[in-house]
Symmetry: C2
Subunit: 475 residues, 2 copies
Amino acid sequence: MSSLQDVNPTVRSIRATTSLQGLAACVTEEIARGAKKPFQQVIDVSSGDPHRAGMAPMSFVRQVLAACIYPELLKDKSLPLDAIQRAQTLLGACSGGSVGSYSVTPPGIPYILKSVAEFIMRRDGGVNSNPEDIIFSSGSQKALSLVLHLMASGQGETRTGVLTPMPCPHTLPTLLDMSGVTLVPYQLTEERGWAVDLDELHRALKTAQGRCSPRAIYISNPGNPTGHVQDRKSIETVISFAATEGLVLLTEEVYQDSVYGKGRDFISYKRVLSEMGKDYSETVELVSLHSISSACMGECGLRGAYIEVINMEPAVMKYLREMHASSSPPVLSQLALEVMVNPPTPGDPSYKTYSQEILHSLTTLSHNAQRACEFLNVLPGMNCQPAMGGVFLYPRLHLPPQMVEEAQMLGVEADVLYCQRLLEEEGVCLGAGCENGQESPNYHIRLCVLAPPDTLEEMLARLSSFHLRLLDRFP
Amino acid sequence: MSSLQDVNPTVRSIRATTSLQGLAACVTEEIARGAKKPFQQVIDVSSGDPHRAGMAPMSFVRQVLAACIYPELLKDKSLPLDAIQRAQTLLGACSGGSVGSYSVTPPGIPYILKSVAEFIMRRDGGVNSNPEDIIFSSGSQKALSLVLHLMASGQGETRTGVLTPMPCPHTLPTLLDMSGVTLVPYQLTEERGWAVDLDELHRALKTAQGRCSPRAIYISNPGNPTGHVQDRKSIETVISFAATEGLVLLTEEVYQDSVYGKGRDFISYKRVLSEMGKDYSETVELVSLHSISSACMGECGLRGAYIEVINMEPAVMKYLREMHASSSPPVLSQLALEVMVNPPTPGDPSYKTYSQEILHSLTTLSHNAQRACEFLNVLPGMNCQPAMGGVFLYPRLHLPPQMVEEAQMLGVEADVLYCQRLLEEEGVCLGAGCENGQESPNYHIRLCVLAPPDTLEEMLARLSSFHLRLLDRFP
């Protein structure tokens, strides 16, 4: 070791990233040390982290987990009876009856694998789901990195490529770099609400010729950060394309619980695939991701996700399981996953509270998304597509040329400079569009709108004040 | 994708592993379905998982975590005051005051990074520890895989090699394979209680010539699975060797809280390094691992660990941080880590209970290790080195030649066959020595002795009964 040249070349190829959250942490620390700022605290809406923004967790989830952690609480009369019973059932599924033991089997606790498969079947109108196709992990990033690591091979034109939407989730480009696969960008159509376009998929595939060998296509639906939700026809188009081109479908469906666009419902890729007939349903490889970091649960800190893997060759699936065997996922996140896929039902003591909390979360999200979109579209030089689902808005910035030049001189992307200034002047931490893979002069900002309405209003007011001042500065 | 030949060659090179735990799960399911067996349940002591074996968690840890998970409990008068206060402090360190948020910064929650650095300084008699050298992860395996991934480079004789003790932790060989580095075995000296031998280190290094380029040496101290605890002189020898040969020290010190050998204390590699003078303390690269899965905490299911990284070039450390940035470690495991490094002190309401529980755990461990070692040494064809620390015993098996032949015919290692039969006939799940990298005809079994004494006795009785029957079968 001891020098840079011994570092894994794949690691050395990881793209440089901006650290707006690092800057936000510094500003917060300055305030704690007594520095005078025009704001009292930083509002960070750069990532999909509802609890950080002040949303409350689901009570039932936390009650069940607390009783599992500290079983003395099973005798506590203040907890609802169904929370106690659920905790008893889940503890019964843990080795030695403790959340402190490793999972019984590497992919996850068998009882919960079964719960998840049953949830998927209910969700998809009865399409079969097999617990043996499901693997738990400590977050959807981790699950995805396993699959990417499995697929990474070749060099030069045989190197594995992954068709990747632009914009994409902001953690994805680094993950692809780290996994040693090549990012092949396909542009989503902003003016049509960030829809997927078939011609663009073909164009993107062509650009890969001689550069790498595309083996998968990544889809984020509901879209992170676009808020687009695909209809059935659009999903069929992508599946046909993947089938024809022999691509694995990597579908990130983390925000499936948060679709609020009028007349738009979440339909899973798996369901559409199974309804397209055997030529598709028995051949196209599909990896679907879901997570407890989703909108309504918002349990990002617990680190829990699952993948369902369809049509993968058994010998390949075996490697995936072996790779995963050394990384037992956190037990508490598996328990939270079980509650997510198997919530209280009518008649249960916790049903009313749970339903109200979910409804509150969804209503807040939907109102906020609409309110923020309208607000942003009134600002000069800002243009926001309405979202139909997920937790983000991704408005376009038309920046003054002088600011773009200033950014070039400083050696940063102009949208990063915009976000840095906003953070310093107004204490609002947004995401810069370049983190989502967007290239200059195509500037955007990313903001999570799942926050208490007061926080959202405060954030919008600060953003507007900064933005208008900026335009004044560069008239 | 769609076929094996597209699988990452590194993944394809992962060695085949036996799945005794998989078999144990099958046997348990058969019993649940009503199958008649000569035992009522499987005793699984194959891994260091104290809660699975029936050890109780530390109450204070669980009280703090429960209150953090479900803050309504902060008003609960039945919880000790210091648990409530600790929970309040820790929640204050979480973004948005919720364990459901991502860590504030990627390496971990700053408050807890600081707690860990202070613990290390106290442990090492004041040797400086910097929170910026510490990174949290979801388990020591995950932390190690990050470091290995960073170091993996080259091909053929330039491929990164890691000097690896034989026997080594049973999860290590697969992890090295997956990370794309070459395992260079060095034998520990069984007849001297599995001590490290300098000549053997030199011999091992020589064997690597032309095969790979050794860049690190892995040490497990207290030894997993050997139970050996190095003295200061032995540690100095290894450090000098690493310094001379330019190797990074990868020291797994997970069982530092459980040394019970007479006259033997745990001394950290970092402390010895810092006391060897500037030629060593300012140059030798050291990565030290510790975990909440350690003996007394035993919180394997929460998935929490840290690494402290010393003397790594800043530019290389930057890559390590970037790789880690996409994988925020579980927040609850960080909170548990804080309690582990900062337990109740005299005068705190929970001090007495906490100390008693720790003492109980250590006393049980120490008695069990001695009891089991004596018991096993009385059995014919079994030879066990006494352990000085950690949770495992690793006795040698002298198997009848007929059984070795039978295993060869069945295409399994003889120690695996031994363990399979033991599991089927007596419902005891041990680890097979070959999982720890030991090669035939060098047969061993691995057993975790941190279990309630009743469970240990029952396990030993079943093992003895099986073992004697086996020797009768092959006289």
